[in-house]
Protein backbone atom coordinates (compact mmCIF):
# COMPACT_ATOMS: atom_id res chain seq x y z
CA UNK A 1 0.00 0.00 0.00
CA UNK A 2 1.26 3.46 -0.79
CA UNK A 3 0.72 6.84 0.83
CA UNK A 4 -0.79 8.09 -2.36
CA UNK A 5 -3.55 5.53 -2.79
CA UNK A 6 -5.60 2.92 -1.03
CA UNK A 7 -7.39 -0.10 -2.43
CA UNK A 8 -10.72 -1.59 -1.38
CA UNK A 9 -13.12 -4.16 -2.87
CA UNK A 10 -16.03 -2.97 -5.04
CA UNK A 11 -18.11 -6.15 -4.82
CA UNK A 12 -16.43 -9.46 -5.64
CA UNK A 13 -15.25 -8.66 -9.17
CA UNK A 14 -13.80 -5.15 -8.94
CA UNK A 15 -11.58 -2.99 -6.75
CA UNK A 16 -11.57 0.72 -6.10
CA UNK A 17 -8.24 2.53 -5.97
CA UNK A 18 -8.80 5.85 -4.16
CA UNK A 19 -6.43 8.76 -4.38
CA UNK A 20 -7.86 10.88 -1.60
CA UNK A 21 -10.86 13.17 -1.40
CA UNK A 22 -9.51 16.32 -3.00
CA UNK A 23 -9.69 17.00 -6.73
CA UNK A 24 -6.48 18.95 -7.07
CA UNK A 25 -3.81 18.57 -9.71
CA UNK A 26 -1.58 16.12 -7.81
CA UNK A 27 -4.51 13.76 -7.32
CA UNK A 28 -5.28 13.88 -11.03
CA UNK A 29 -1.63 13.19 -11.85
CA UNK A 30 -1.70 10.11 -9.62
CA UNK A 31 -4.89 8.86 -11.25
CA UNK A 32 -3.27 9.36 -14.64
CA UNK A 33 -0.04 7.60 -13.67
CA UNK A 34 -1.92 4.68 -12.20
CA UNK A 35 -4.20 4.25 -15.20
CA UNK A 36 -1.25 4.32 -17.56
CA UNK A 37 0.66 1.72 -15.50
CA UNK A 38 -2.32 -0.58 -15.46
CA UNK A 39 -2.79 -0.12 -19.20
CA UNK A 40 0.81 -1.10 -19.86
CA UNK A 41 1.02 -3.88 -17.28
CA UNK A 42 -2.36 -5.60 -16.94
CA UNK A 43 -2.14 -8.43 -14.40
CA UNK A 44 -3.58 -11.87 -15.24
CA UNK A 45 -7.32 -11.65 -14.61
CA UNK A 46 -7.47 -7.89 -15.11
CA UNK A 47 -10.43 -7.11 -17.39
CA UNK A 48 -10.51 -3.32 -17.60
CA UNK A 49 -10.24 -0.09 -15.64
CA UNK A 50 -12.35 3.06 -15.33
CA UNK A 51 -10.69 6.30 -14.18
CA UNK A 52 -12.79 8.91 -12.40
CA UNK A 53 -12.04 12.20 -10.61
CA UNK A 54 -9.94 10.81 -7.77
CA UNK A 55 -10.24 7.06 -8.20
CA UNK A 56 -9.76 4.18 -10.61
CA UNK A 57 -12.09 1.18 -10.65
CA UNK A 58 -10.46 -2.04 -11.85
CA UNK A 59 -12.68 -4.92 -12.98
CA UNK A 60 -11.18 -8.41 -12.75
CA UNK A 61 -12.17 -12.07 -13.08
CA UNK A 62 -12.33 -13.65 -9.60
CA UNK A 63 -12.18 -17.13 -11.20
CA UNK A 64 -8.62 -16.29 -12.24
CA UNK A 65 -7.46 -14.23 -9.24
CA UNK A 66 -8.72 -13.56 -5.74
CA UNK A 67 -9.01 -10.10 -4.18
CA UNK A 68 -5.73 -10.69 -2.30
CA UNK A 69 -3.94 -11.52 -5.56
CA UNK A 70 -5.26 -8.34 -7.13
CA UNK A 71 -3.98 -6.23 -4.23
CA UNK A 72 -0.52 -7.84 -4.48
CA UNK A 73 -0.43 -7.47 -8.26
CA UNK A 74 -1.34 -3.79 -8.13
CA UNK A 75 1.14 -3.05 -5.34
CA UNK A 76 3.95 -4.67 -7.28
CA UNK A 77 3.07 -2.92 -10.55
CA UNK A 78 3.17 0.42 -8.75
CA UNK A 79 6.41 -0.37 -6.92
CA UNK A 80 8.21 -1.50 -10.07
CA UNK A 81 7.18 1.46 -12.17
CA UNK A 82 9.44 4.18 -13.42
CA UNK A 83 7.10 7.14 -13.36
CA UNK A 84 9.52 9.73 -14.68
CA UNK A 85 9.79 8.14 -18.11
CA UNK A 86 6.06 8.18 -18.78
CA UNK A 87 5.12 10.22 -21.86
CA UNK A 88 2.06 12.42 -21.37
CA UNK A 89 -1.04 12.11 -23.51
CA UNK A 90 -0.94 14.83 -26.14
CA UNK A 91 -3.51 17.59 -25.68
CA UNK A 92 -6.59 17.63 -27.89
CA UNK A 93 -7.85 20.95 -29.23
CA UNK A 94 -11.60 21.02 -29.69
CA UNK A 95 -12.92 23.61 -32.18
CA UNK A 96 -16.17 25.22 -31.01
CA UNK A 97 -18.62 27.62 -32.57
CA UNK A 98 -19.83 29.63 -29.59
CA UNK A 99 -23.21 31.28 -29.15
CA UNK A 100 -26.09 31.78 -31.53
CA UNK A 101 -28.33 28.76 -31.95
CA UNK A 102 -25.35 26.56 -30.99
CA UNK A 103 -24.99 28.18 -27.59
CA UNK A 104 -28.50 29.06 -26.38
CA UNK A 105 -27.30 29.61 -22.78
CA UNK A 106 -24.25 31.78 -23.59
CA UNK A 107 -26.08 35.05 -22.97
CA UNK A 108 -27.64 33.79 -19.72
CA UNK A 109 -24.25 32.65 -18.48
CA UNK A 110 -22.59 35.94 -19.41
CA UNK A 111 -25.32 37.96 -17.63
CA UNK A 112 -25.14 35.65 -14.60
CA UNK A 113 -21.44 36.49 -14.19
CA UNK A 114 -21.65 40.12 -15.30
CA UNK A 115 -19.41 39.40 -18.30
CA UNK A 116 -19.76 39.97 -22.02
CA UNK A 117 -20.21 36.93 -24.25
CA UNK A 118 -16.72 37.60 -25.67
CA UNK A 119 -15.24 37.51 -22.19
CA UNK A 120 -16.93 34.17 -21.49
CA UNK A 121 -15.51 32.71 -24.72
CA UNK A 122 -12.08 34.14 -23.90
CA UNK A 123 -12.11 32.56 -20.44
CA UNK A 124 -13.43 29.19 -21.68
CA UNK A 125 -10.79 28.92 -24.42
CA UNK A 126 -7.85 30.11 -22.32
CA UNK A 127 -8.00 27.33 -19.74
CA UNK A 128 -6.18 23.96 -19.78
CA UNK A 129 -8.60 21.14 -18.99
CA UNK A 130 -8.18 17.45 -18.16
CA UNK A 131 -10.67 14.66 -18.90
CA UNK A 132 -11.39 13.40 -15.41
CA UNK A 133 -13.91 10.82 -16.38
CA UNK A 134 -15.94 9.58 -19.34
CA UNK A 135 -19.49 8.48 -18.64
CA UNK A 136 -23.18 9.47 -18.69
CA UNK A 137 -23.30 8.46 -22.37
CA UNK A 138 -20.56 6.87 -24.51
CA UNK A 139 -17.69 9.31 -24.99
CA UNK A 140 -19.16 12.08 -22.77
CA UNK A 141 -16.12 13.75 -21.14
CA UNK A 142 -16.27 15.41 -17.72
CA UNK A 143 -13.55 18.08 -17.82
CA UNK A 144 -11.95 19.70 -14.78
CA UNK A 145 -10.10 23.00 -14.99
CA UNK A 146 -12.98 25.38 -15.64
CA UNK A 147 -12.10 28.96 -14.59
CA UNK A 148 -14.06 29.65 -11.38
CA UNK A 149 -15.43 32.84 -12.97
CA UNK A 150 -17.51 30.60 -15.26
CA UNK A 151 -18.88 28.13 -12.67
CA UNK A 152 -22.66 28.17 -13.13
CA UNK A 153 -25.41 25.95 -11.70
CA UNK A 154 -27.26 23.55 -14.01
CA UNK A 155 -30.44 24.74 -15.70
CA UNK A 156 -33.47 24.63 -13.41
CA UNK A 157 -35.33 22.73 -16.15
CA UNK A 158 -33.25 20.24 -18.17
CA UNK A 159 -33.86 20.24 -21.91
CA UNK A 160 -35.51 17.10 -23.32
CA UNK A 161 -33.09 17.28 -26.23
CA UNK A 162 -29.57 18.68 -26.45
CA UNK A 163 -27.96 18.43 -29.92
CA UNK A 164 -24.91 16.24 -30.46
CA UNK A 165 -21.66 18.21 -30.12
CA UNK A 166 -23.09 20.63 -27.53
CA UNK A 167 -20.47 22.13 -25.22
CA UNK A 168 -21.83 22.80 -21.74
CA UNK A 169 -21.12 23.95 -18.21
CA UNK A 170 -22.59 22.60 -14.97
CA UNK A 171 -21.21 23.78 -11.66
CA UNK A 172 -17.42 23.64 -11.88
CA UNK A 173 -17.43 21.12 -14.73
CA UNK A 174 -17.44 21.57 -18.47
CA UNK A 175 -18.28 18.82 -20.93
CA UNK A 176 -19.45 17.87 -24.42
CA UNK A 177 -22.55 15.84 -25.38
CA UNK A 178 -21.36 13.31 -28.01
CA UNK A 179 -24.92 12.26 -28.89
CA UNK A 180 -28.25 13.98 -28.81
CA UNK A 181 -29.78 13.33 -25.39
CA UNK A 182 -31.73 15.07 -22.63
CA UNK A 183 -29.49 17.41 -20.66
CA UNK A 184 -29.43 20.01 -17.90
CA UNK A 185 -26.07 21.67 -18.59
CA UNK A 186 -25.74 25.31 -19.74
CA UNK A 187 -25.01 25.04 -23.47
CA UNK A 188 -22.59 27.69 -24.75
CA UNK A 189 -21.44 26.30 -28.11
CA UNK A 190 -21.16 23.31 -30.43
CA UNK A 191 -18.26 21.31 -31.83
CA UNK A 192 -18.45 19.80 -35.36
CA UNK A 193 -15.97 17.04 -34.38
CA UNK A 194 -17.53 13.63 -33.63
CA UNK A 195 -16.73 12.59 -30.05
CA UNK A 196 -17.78 8.97 -30.39
CA UNK A 197 -17.68 6.58 -33.34
CA UNK A 198 -18.21 2.83 -32.95
CA UNK A 199 -16.23 2.09 -36.10
CA UNK A 200 -13.04 3.52 -34.49
CA UNK A 201 -10.80 1.86 -31.95
CA UNK A 202 -10.82 3.44 -29.44
CA UNK A 203 -14.35 4.62 -30.20
CA UNK A 204 -14.08 7.81 -28.11
CA UNK A 205 -12.17 10.84 -29.40
CA UNK A 206 -10.97 11.73 -25.90
CA UNK A 207 -9.13 9.42 -23.49
CA UNK A 208 -9.57 9.58 -19.74
CA UNK A 209 -6.92 11.96 -18.30
CA UNK A 210 -6.20 13.60 -21.64
CA UNK A 211 -5.44 17.33 -21.63
CA UNK A 212 -8.00 19.38 -23.61
CA UNK A 213 -8.29 22.94 -24.86
CA UNK A 214 -11.14 24.67 -26.64
CA UNK A 215 -10.69 26.90 -29.68
CA UNK A 216 -13.25 29.41 -30.93
CA UNK A 217 -14.01 29.11 -34.66
CA UNK A 218 -16.21 31.05 -37.08
CA UNK A 219 -19.55 29.76 -38.27
CA UNK A 220 -18.11 29.20 -41.79
CA UNK A 221 -15.27 27.11 -40.38
CA UNK A 222 -17.80 25.22 -38.25
CA UNK A 223 -19.86 24.34 -41.33
CA UNK A 224 -16.76 23.37 -43.29
CA UNK A 225 -15.55 21.04 -40.54
CA UNK A 226 -19.00 19.52 -40.18
CA UNK A 227 -18.95 18.78 -43.90
CA UNK A 228 -15.48 17.17 -43.61
CA UNK A 229 -16.72 14.80 -40.93
CA UNK A 230 -19.91 13.81 -42.68
Amino acid sequence: MSNEWKISPLGDSAVLISFGTSMDRSVQDHVQQFARLLHQHPFPGCIEYVPAYNSVTVLYDPIICSYEHVVLAIESIWAASDLSSQPLLSPMVIPVYYGGASGPDLKYLADYHDLTESEVIQLHTSAQYVVSMIGFTPGFPYLTGLPTELATPRRAEPRTSVPAGSVGIAGVQTGIYPQESPGGWQIIGNTPIPLFDVSRIPPALLQPLQPVQFQSISYDDYLALKEDYR
Binding site: G11, D12, M23, E48, V50, P51, T57, I134, G135, P208
Partner: protein, 337 residues
Protein backbone atom coordinates in the same frame (compact mmCIF):
# COMPACT_ATOMS: atom_id res chain seq x y z
CA UNK B 1 -32.77 -16.25 -41.25
CA UNK B 2 -35.25 -16.03 -38.43
CA UNK B 3 -38.37 -14.08 -39.38
CA UNK B 4 -40.06 -12.20 -36.54
CA UNK B 5 -43.83 -12.65 -36.72
CA UNK B 6 -44.41 -11.12 -33.30
CA UNK B 7 -41.54 -9.43 -31.46
CA UNK B 8 -42.70 -9.79 -27.84
CA UNK B 9 -42.49 -7.08 -25.21
CA UNK B 10 -38.72 -6.46 -25.29
CA UNK B 11 -36.62 -8.83 -27.40
CA UNK B 12 -32.98 -8.00 -28.11
CA UNK B 13 -29.89 -9.74 -29.44
CA UNK B 14 -27.43 -10.35 -26.59
CA UNK B 15 -24.21 -12.28 -26.10
CA UNK B 16 -22.10 -12.25 -22.92
CA UNK B 17 -21.42 -8.53 -23.19
CA UNK B 18 -19.07 -5.86 -24.47
CA UNK B 19 -15.82 -5.62 -22.56
CA UNK B 20 -12.88 -3.22 -22.76
CA UNK B 21 -14.64 0.07 -23.46
CA UNK B 22 -16.09 0.90 -20.06
CA UNK B 23 -13.72 3.81 -19.55
CA UNK B 24 -15.25 5.41 -22.64
CA UNK B 25 -18.73 5.23 -21.15
CA UNK B 26 -19.71 2.07 -23.03
CA UNK B 27 -21.73 -0.19 -20.71
CA UNK B 28 -21.31 -3.96 -20.67
CA UNK B 29 -24.78 -4.96 -21.92
CA UNK B 30 -25.14 -8.71 -22.55
CA UNK B 31 -27.62 -11.32 -21.29
CA UNK B 32 -28.78 -10.34 -17.80
CA UNK B 33 -29.35 -14.02 -16.97
CA UNK B 34 -26.09 -15.33 -18.34
CA UNK B 35 -26.74 -18.80 -16.91
CA UNK B 36 -29.85 -19.40 -19.04
CA UNK B 37 -28.27 -17.89 -22.16
CA UNK B 38 -25.15 -20.05 -21.72
CA UNK B 39 -27.11 -23.29 -21.24
CA UNK B 40 -29.33 -22.52 -24.25
CA UNK B 41 -26.16 -22.05 -26.33
CA UNK B 42 -24.58 -25.29 -25.07
CA UNK B 43 -27.75 -27.27 -25.86
CA UNK B 44 -27.51 -26.28 -29.54
CA UNK B 45 -23.74 -26.83 -29.75
CA UNK B 46 -22.61 -23.20 -29.52
CA UNK B 47 -20.02 -21.71 -27.17
CA UNK B 48 -21.61 -19.71 -24.33
CA UNK B 49 -20.29 -16.52 -26.00
CA UNK B 50 -22.58 -16.91 -29.03
CA UNK B 51 -25.35 -14.34 -29.47
CA UNK B 52 -28.95 -15.32 -28.76
CA UNK B 53 -32.35 -13.62 -28.38
CA UNK B 54 -33.28 -12.31 -24.91
CA UNK B 55 -37.07 -12.06 -24.46
CA UNK B 56 -38.78 -10.21 -21.60
CA UNK B 57 -42.16 -10.95 -20.00
CA UNK B 58 -43.82 -11.83 -23.32
CA UNK B 59 -41.99 -13.99 -25.85
CA UNK B 60 -41.76 -13.81 -29.62
CA UNK B 61 -43.35 -15.75 -32.49
CA UNK B 62 -40.69 -16.76 -34.99
CA UNK B 63 -40.37 -18.75 -38.19
CA UNK B 64 -37.16 -20.31 -39.52
CA UNK B 65 -36.34 -20.32 -43.22
CA UNK B 66 -34.03 -23.33 -42.81
CA UNK B 67 -34.05 -26.53 -40.76
CA UNK B 68 -32.68 -25.37 -37.42
CA UNK B 69 -31.61 -26.55 -33.98
CA UNK B 70 -32.81 -24.17 -31.25
CA UNK B 71 -33.22 -24.18 -27.47
CA UNK B 72 -35.15 -21.96 -25.06
CA UNK B 73 -34.01 -21.56 -21.43
CA UNK B 74 -34.90 -19.15 -18.65
CA UNK B 75 -38.01 -18.59 -16.55
CA UNK B 76 -41.13 -20.64 -17.29
CA UNK B 77 -43.13 -20.18 -20.48
CA UNK B 78 -45.15 -22.19 -23.00
CA UNK B 79 -43.39 -23.05 -26.23
CA UNK B 80 -45.59 -24.27 -29.08
CA UNK B 81 -45.13 -25.64 -32.57
CA UNK B 82 -48.31 -26.22 -34.58
CA UNK B 83 -50.32 -25.69 -31.41
CA UNK B 84 -48.46 -28.46 -29.61
CA UNK B 85 -46.36 -27.86 -26.51
CA UNK B 86 -42.65 -28.48 -26.96
CA UNK B 87 -40.13 -28.54 -24.08
CA UNK B 88 -37.81 -25.84 -22.76
CA UNK B 89 -34.26 -26.65 -21.59
CA UNK B 90 -33.69 -29.15 -24.43
CA UNK B 91 -32.43 -28.82 -27.99
CA UNK B 92 -35.28 -28.72 -30.55
CA UNK B 93 -34.97 -29.69 -34.17
CA UNK B 94 -37.31 -27.42 -36.16
CA UNK B 95 -38.11 -28.02 -39.81
CA UNK B 96 -37.86 -25.08 -42.18
CA UNK B 97 -40.93 -22.80 -42.44
CA UNK B 98 -42.15 -23.94 -39.04
CA UNK B 99 -43.52 -21.39 -36.59
CA UNK B 100 -42.32 -21.45 -32.97
CA UNK B 101 -44.33 -19.39 -30.53
CA UNK B 102 -43.15 -18.34 -27.08
CA UNK B 103 -45.88 -17.13 -24.76
CA UNK B 104 -45.95 -15.06 -21.56
CA UNK B 105 -43.12 -15.64 -19.12
CA UNK B 106 -43.94 -16.55 -15.53
CA UNK B 107 -42.08 -17.42 -12.32
CA UNK B 108 -39.38 -15.06 -13.56
CA UNK B 109 -38.80 -12.39 -16.18
CA UNK B 110 -36.81 -13.56 -19.19
CA UNK B 111 -36.19 -16.45 -21.57
CA UNK B 112 -33.34 -16.95 -24.05
CA UNK B 113 -33.56 -18.52 -27.49
CA UNK B 114 -30.32 -19.89 -28.90
CA UNK B 115 -29.93 -21.23 -32.45
CA UNK B 116 -27.11 -23.47 -33.73
CA UNK B 117 -24.56 -21.17 -35.41
CA UNK B 118 -25.54 -18.26 -33.16
CA UNK B 119 -27.37 -15.06 -34.08
CA UNK B 120 -25.27 -13.57 -36.87
CA UNK B 121 -25.74 -9.79 -36.58
CA UNK B 122 -22.62 -7.63 -37.10
CA UNK B 123 -20.25 -7.24 -34.17
CA UNK B 124 -19.82 -3.71 -32.85
CA UNK B 125 -16.83 -3.01 -30.60
CA UNK B 126 -16.20 -6.74 -30.33
CA UNK B 127 -19.69 -7.84 -29.28
CA UNK B 128 -23.16 -8.60 -30.68
CA UNK B 129 -24.90 -7.32 -27.55
CA UNK B 130 -27.47 -4.55 -27.96
CA UNK B 131 -26.72 -1.26 -26.17
CA UNK B 132 -30.25 0.16 -26.26
CA UNK B 133 -29.38 3.50 -24.61
CA UNK B 134 -26.73 4.31 -27.20
CA UNK B 135 -28.58 2.63 -30.09
CA UNK B 136 -25.80 0.40 -31.33
CA UNK B 137 -25.02 -3.30 -31.35
CA UNK B 138 -27.28 -6.32 -31.80
CA UNK B 139 -29.98 -5.81 -34.43
CA UNK B 140 -29.47 -2.18 -35.48
CA UNK B 141 -29.16 -1.09 -31.84
CA UNK B 142 -32.83 -1.69 -31.04
CA UNK B 143 -35.41 -4.16 -29.80
CA UNK B 144 -36.88 -6.44 -32.49
CA UNK B 145 -40.04 -5.52 -34.41
CA UNK B 146 -42.50 -7.55 -36.48
CA UNK B 147 -41.12 -8.45 -39.95
CA UNK B 148 -37.46 -8.18 -38.87
CA UNK B 149 -35.23 -10.83 -40.47
CA UNK B 150 -32.51 -11.95 -38.09
CA UNK B 151 -29.37 -13.49 -39.66
CA UNK B 152 -28.04 -16.77 -38.28
CA UNK B 153 -24.40 -17.87 -38.33
CA UNK B 154 -23.52 -21.04 -40.14
CA UNK B 155 -23.09 -24.36 -38.39
CA UNK B 156 -23.12 -28.02 -39.43
CA UNK B 157 -26.32 -29.30 -41.01
CA UNK B 158 -28.99 -30.03 -38.39
CA UNK B 159 -29.60 -33.43 -39.97
CA UNK B 160 -26.06 -34.42 -38.88
CA UNK B 161 -26.96 -33.92 -35.23
CA UNK B 162 -26.33 -37.29 -33.49
CA UNK B 163 -29.25 -37.19 -31.03
CA UNK B 164 -31.74 -36.80 -33.89
CA UNK B 165 -31.00 -40.34 -34.99
CA UNK B 166 -31.53 -41.90 -31.59
CA UNK B 167 -34.45 -44.30 -31.25
CA UNK B 168 -35.49 -42.36 -28.14
CA UNK B 169 -36.18 -39.09 -29.97
CA UNK B 170 -39.63 -37.53 -29.43
CA UNK B 171 -41.58 -35.03 -31.46
CA UNK B 172 -44.80 -33.25 -32.34
CA UNK B 173 -47.52 -35.20 -34.16
CA UNK B 174 -46.85 -33.20 -37.30
CA UNK B 175 -43.14 -34.21 -37.10
CA UNK B 176 -42.06 -30.61 -37.74
CA UNK B 177 -40.34 -30.50 -34.36
CA UNK B 178 -38.26 -33.16 -32.58
CA UNK B 179 -36.34 -33.29 -29.34
CA UNK B 180 -34.23 -35.79 -27.38
CA UNK B 181 -35.34 -37.72 -24.31
CA UNK B 182 -32.84 -35.80 -22.14
CA UNK B 183 -32.76 -32.17 -20.96
CA UNK B 184 -31.43 -29.98 -18.15
CA UNK B 185 -32.71 -30.95 -14.70
CA UNK B 186 -35.36 -29.04 -12.76
CA UNK B 187 -32.88 -28.43 -9.95
CA UNK B 188 -30.52 -26.65 -12.32
CA UNK B 189 -33.33 -24.65 -13.89
CA UNK B 190 -34.67 -23.48 -10.54
CA UNK B 191 -31.29 -22.11 -9.43
CA UNK B 192 -32.00 -18.73 -11.06
CA UNK B 193 -35.57 -18.30 -9.85
CA UNK B 194 -35.21 -16.90 -6.36
CA UNK B 195 -35.38 -13.42 -4.89
CA UNK B 196 -32.81 -14.21 -2.20
CA UNK B 197 -29.68 -12.31 -3.20
CA UNK B 198 -26.27 -12.73 -1.59
CA UNK B 199 -24.58 -9.34 -1.23
CA UNK B 200 -21.49 -7.67 0.14
CA UNK B 201 -21.58 -4.33 1.99
CA UNK B 202 -20.70 -1.41 -0.31
CA UNK B 203 -18.33 1.54 0.13
CA UNK B 204 -20.98 3.70 1.81
CA UNK B 205 -22.51 0.87 3.90
CA UNK B 206 -21.02 2.47 7.01
CA UNK B 207 -22.79 5.75 6.31
CA UNK B 208 -26.14 3.99 6.68
CA UNK B 209 -28.01 4.44 9.92
CA UNK B 210 -27.94 1.39 12.18
CA UNK B 211 -31.62 0.96 11.47
CA UNK B 212 -30.90 1.16 7.75
CA UNK B 213 -28.30 -1.57 7.97
CA UNK B 214 -30.72 -3.79 9.93
CA UNK B 215 -33.53 -3.23 7.44
CA UNK B 216 -31.34 -4.21 4.50
CA UNK B 217 -30.71 -7.70 5.82
CA UNK B 218 -34.03 -8.44 7.52
CA UNK B 219 -36.81 -6.85 5.52
CA UNK B 220 -38.52 -7.90 2.31
CA UNK B 221 -38.24 -5.55 -0.64
CA UNK B 222 -40.30 -5.75 -3.83
CA UNK B 223 -39.33 -5.15 -7.43
CA UNK B 224 -41.15 -1.97 -8.47
CA UNK B 225 -42.55 -1.35 -11.93
CA UNK B 226 -39.39 0.71 -12.66
CA UNK B 227 -37.30 -2.25 -13.72
CA UNK B 228 -35.35 -2.69 -16.96
CA UNK B 229 -31.94 -3.72 -18.27
CA UNK B 230 -30.36 -0.61 -16.70
CA UNK B 231 -31.61 -1.07 -13.17
CA UNK B 232 -34.26 -2.28 -10.78
CA UNK B 233 -35.82 0.13 -8.29
CA UNK B 234 -36.98 -1.59 -5.11
CA UNK B 235 -40.13 -0.78 -3.17
CA UNK B 236 -40.15 -1.48 0.55
CA UNK B 237 -38.63 0.11 3.64
CA UNK B 238 -36.96 3.47 3.09
CA UNK B 239 -33.27 3.20 3.97
CA UNK B 240 -31.72 6.24 5.63
CA UNK B 241 -28.18 7.51 6.01
CA UNK B 242 -26.69 8.52 9.37
CA UNK B 243 -25.42 11.74 7.86
CA UNK B 244 -25.55 13.35 4.43
CA UNK B 245 -22.55 12.51 2.30
CA UNK B 246 -20.97 14.54 -0.52
CA UNK B 247 -20.01 12.10 -3.20
CA UNK B 248 -17.76 12.52 -6.17
CA UNK B 249 -18.65 10.17 -9.04
CA UNK B 250 -16.81 6.87 -8.87
CA UNK B 251 -17.08 3.54 -10.67
CA UNK B 252 -20.10 1.30 -10.35
CA UNK B 253 -20.58 -2.21 -11.78
CA UNK B 254 -23.53 -4.51 -12.53
CA UNK B 255 -24.82 -5.68 -9.15
CA UNK B 256 -24.00 -2.40 -7.39
CA UNK B 257 -26.93 -1.30 -5.19
CA UNK B 258 -27.21 2.50 -5.07
CA UNK B 259 -29.19 4.59 -2.60
CA UNK B 260 -30.67 7.70 -4.26
CA UNK B 261 -32.11 10.54 -2.12
CA UNK B 262 -35.53 8.79 -2.12
CA UNK B 263 -34.09 6.11 0.19
CA UNK B 264 -35.28 3.36 -2.18
CA UNK B 265 -32.39 1.15 -3.33
CA UNK B 266 -31.65 0.57 -7.03
CA UNK B 267 -29.83 -2.57 -8.25
CA UNK B 268 -27.75 -1.79 -11.37
CA UNK B 269 -27.84 -4.31 -14.23
CA UNK B 270 -25.83 -4.89 -17.40
CA UNK B 271 -26.97 -1.65 -19.11
CA UNK B 272 -26.46 0.43 -15.96
CA UNK B 273 -24.21 3.51 -16.08
CA UNK B 274 -20.45 3.15 -15.71
CA UNK B 275 -19.94 5.76 -12.98
CA UNK B 276 -22.25 7.20 -10.34
CA UNK B 277 -22.47 9.71 -7.53
CA UNK B 278 -25.04 8.01 -5.29
CA UNK B 279 -23.97 6.06 -2.20
CA UNK B 280 -23.16 2.42 -2.99
CA UNK B 281 -24.64 0.46 -0.09
CA UNK B 282 -24.35 -3.12 -1.34
CA UNK B 283 -22.93 -5.16 -4.20
CA UNK B 284 -24.86 -8.27 -5.23
CA UNK B 285 -22.44 -11.23 -5.34
CA UNK B 286 -21.63 -12.09 -8.99
CA UNK B 287 -22.91 -15.65 -8.47
CA UNK B 288 -26.42 -14.21 -8.00
CA UNK B 289 -26.45 -11.78 -10.95
CA UNK B 290 -28.43 -14.25 -13.13
CA UNK B 291 -31.14 -14.19 -10.44
CA UNK B 292 -31.28 -10.38 -10.70
CA UNK B 293 -31.87 -10.83 -14.45
CA UNK B 294 -34.98 -12.89 -13.62
CA UNK B 295 -36.57 -10.49 -11.10
CA UNK B 296 -39.98 -9.33 -12.30
CA UNK B 297 -42.14 -6.40 -11.08
CA UNK B 298 -43.92 -7.30 -7.85
CA UNK B 299 -41.47 -10.06 -6.92
CA UNK B 300 -40.13 -10.12 -3.34
CA UNK B 301 -36.38 -9.61 -2.85
CA UNK B 302 -34.22 -10.37 0.21
CA UNK B 303 -30.57 -9.60 0.77
CA UNK B 304 -28.29 -12.04 2.60
CA UNK B 305 -24.88 -10.88 3.74
CA UNK B 306 -21.88 -12.75 2.41
CA UNK B 307 -18.14 -12.16 2.93
CA UNK B 308 -15.86 -11.35 -0.02
CA UNK B 309 -13.79 -14.53 0.32
CA UNK B 310 -16.95 -16.62 0.49
CA UNK B 311 -18.51 -14.86 -2.53
CA UNK B 312 -15.40 -15.56 -4.59
CA UNK B 313 -15.04 -19.19 -3.57
CA UNK B 314 -18.76 -19.81 -4.21
CA UNK B 315 -18.27 -18.34 -7.67
CA UNK B 316 -15.35 -20.70 -8.37
CA UNK B 317 -17.36 -23.70 -7.21
CA UNK B 318 -20.22 -22.61 -9.43
CA UNK B 319 -17.85 -22.27 -12.38
CA UNK B 320 -16.69 -25.86 -11.86
CA UNK B 321 -20.34 -27.03 -11.74
CA UNK B 322 -21.08 -25.17 -14.97
CA UNK B 323 -18.09 -26.69 -16.73
CA UNK B 324 -19.38 -30.10 -15.70
CA UNK B 325 -22.86 -29.23 -16.99
CA UNK B 326 -21.45 -28.08 -20.31
CA UNK B 327 -19.45 -31.30 -20.60
CA UNK B 328 -22.50 -33.45 -19.87
CA UNK B 329 -24.62 -31.55 -22.40
CA UNK B 330 -21.93 -31.96 -25.07
CA UNK B 331 -21.72 -35.67 -24.47
CA UNK B 332 -25.50 -36.05 -24.70
CA UNK B 333 -25.62 -34.01 -27.90
CA UNK B 334 -23.03 -36.23 -29.49
CA UNK B 335 -24.96 -39.30 -28.46
CA UNK B 336 -22.12 -40.43 -26.22
CA UNK B 337 -24.42 -41.09 -23.30
Amino acid sequence: MIRVLRAGLMTTVQDLGRVGFRRYGVVMSGAVDSFSSSVANWLVGNKETAACLEMTLQGAILSFDEDSIVAVCGADTELKVANQLVPMWRPLYIQKDTVLSIDSVFNGCRVYLAVAGGIGTTEVLGSRSTYLGARFGGYHGRALFEDDDIPVGSSSTPKDTPWLHSSMVRGTRCKRCKWPSWGVSKRERRSILSGSLRALPGEQYNVLSEEGQQLLWTEEFRVSSQADRMGIRLDGPVISLRTSVEMVSEGVVPGTVQLPPSGRPVILLADGQTTGGYPRILHVASIDLPKVGQLRPGQPVFFTQVELESAQSLLRERQAELQQLEHTINQRRKGEN
